[in-house]
């Protein structure tokens, strides 16, 4: 069964990668297959979770859950032009609670929690730590200055915003470098998989198919 799974996955990988050569029906098949699998699993987990958090508790006596269930089913009215406005009730409840939980914890964790590290006993640390501390403060304050749009970026604010932009470029550059690194991982992982037996024997077949297609199309 493992061998069959490996061969199936290798064939699906090579079918997906046929896109590197040109747009093919093989690539579209794999793309739609993935979409279908994702939908199938979502359907399963939705029904399974519904049984656990709605059906079972309700049958055990928690009948008030019928109210959120109605609000939840009203979400599906978004597909109807006539009754779409009813879906806003459910959306408002989900968005309101999500916003409430986020805002409630944003202040202690993201604002106060991020300002606290600025308070440092400078007498207890060495010169390198003080320099690093200054760099962090300057980059943080100038980044916040960049996002201050209530005043025009002129004079001192202009310079602060400019330094903020450069600091953000350093952060985004780090993200950019890391993103390239991690996007390559997908290709590397698939290549490591394809180099193992029995799927490695499919590689020459794939190359021959491409060469035959190139020759058949007259090298276009």
């Amino acid at each position: 069964m493992e061998v069959i799974a490996s061969l199936i996955v290798a064939i699906l990988t090579l079918m997906a990668w046929s896109m590197l050569y040109r747009e093919t029906v093989f690539y579209r098949f794999v793309e739609h297959l993935i979409i279908g699998f994702s939908m199938g699993y979502t359907l399963y987990i939705t029904i399974d979770t519904l049984k656990k958090i709605w059906i079972s508790p309700m049958l055990a006596g928690n009948w008030i859950l019928i109210i959120p269930a109605i609000l939840g089913f009203l979400l599906y009215t978004s597909f109807s032009e006539r009754y779409r406005y009813l879906s806003r009730w459910g959306i408002a409840a989900i968005a309101g609670s999500g916003a409430g939980f986020a805002v409630g914890r944003a202040v202690p964790v993201q604002i106060i929690g991020q300002i606290k590290p600025f308070f440092l006993n400078l007498r207890e640390v060495g010169a390198p730590a003080i320099i690093n501390w200054l760099v962090v403060i300057i980059t943080t304050v100038t980044t916040l200055a960049y996002f201050t749009f209530t005043r025009e970026h002129k004079g001192a604010l202009g310079w602060a915003a400019k330094i903020g932009r450069w600091s953000m470029m350093a952060a985004f550059g780090a993200t950019f470098g890391a993103t390239i690194g991690c996007d390559l991982l997908y290709i590397i992982e698939r290549c490591i998989f394809l180099h193992k037996a029995p799927q490695v024997y499919l590689l020459p077949i794939a190359i021959i198919v491409i060469v035959v297609d190139i020759l058949r199309r007259g090298g276009k």
Binding site: I91, G96, G104, T139, M169, I180
Partner: protein, 204 residues
């Protein structure tokens, strides 16, 4: 029944759930605790039902494609076939679920996502041009991180790891801290705007 169409109803629902969610954590009172806990049960259920909207949207899209015999409608059969196959295997047994999901679906998803890497690399060669000071800083930070993630540079050039660590721990971290604080303030601002009725995305 025109009252059901009023914007104020979803706005009121948003406000009530927001206040409970925001302040329920801080108010230590049995009644508030009960309301807070009930809100969780209700919203978890609604969130689970919300998952179905995506499924229905995709089903309608592919169903219409098949019904109208639009270009590429054959692939919509593949979607429905895969949906049924995964759904049945999830219920058949944990072994069949694991076989299809972990051994076939997961690697195939990775194969599709390889295109982000391929497109990015060819796009970098074509489009990444250092034309300004900001682009220079971006490229410099990017290169340092690329060397950080490639073990060979850490091995042959001893200072690379230190420079990359310093970059991540200081200027990049400082800017990210500014962004985190800004995002938190922005989250609060957006919530207040929705409460005051300026943002119509959730309330219509």
């Amino acid at each position: 029944m025109s009252w059901v169409r009023r914007r104020e109803i979803p706005l009121l629902i948003f406000a009530i759930t927001f206040i409970i969610g925001c302040f329920g954590y801080y108010i230590e009172h049995p009644a508030m605790g009960k309301i807070y806990s009930t809100l969780f049960d209700w919203v978890l259920l609604m969130s689970n039902l919300a998952l179905g909207t995506g499924l229905i949207a995709m089903t309608l899209y592919h169903g219409k494609k098949i019904a109208k015999r639009e270009k590429g409608y054959e692939m919509s059969f593949v979607v429905f076939g895969a949906l049924i196959l995964m759904f049945i295997s999830c219920y058949a047994s944990p072994a069949s679920r694991e076989y299809l999901y972990a051994k076939i679906y997961t690697p195939a998803s990775i194969a599709i996502l390889c295109f982000t890497g391929f497109s990015e690399i060819s796009g970098l060669y074509r489009a990444f041009r250092v034309r300004s000071v900001e682009a220079f800083f971006l490229a410099l930070a990017g290169f340092i991180l690329l060397m950080h993630f490639a073990p060979v540079y850490g091995f042959f050039i001893p200072g690379v790891e230190k420079v990359a660590s310093w970059l991540l721990d200081n200027p990049a971290m400082g800017a990210s801290r500014g962004i985190v604080i800004g995002v938190a303030i922005g989250t609060i601002a957006i919530a207040i705007r929705v409460l005051l009725g300026y943002e119509k995305a959730y309330t219509g």
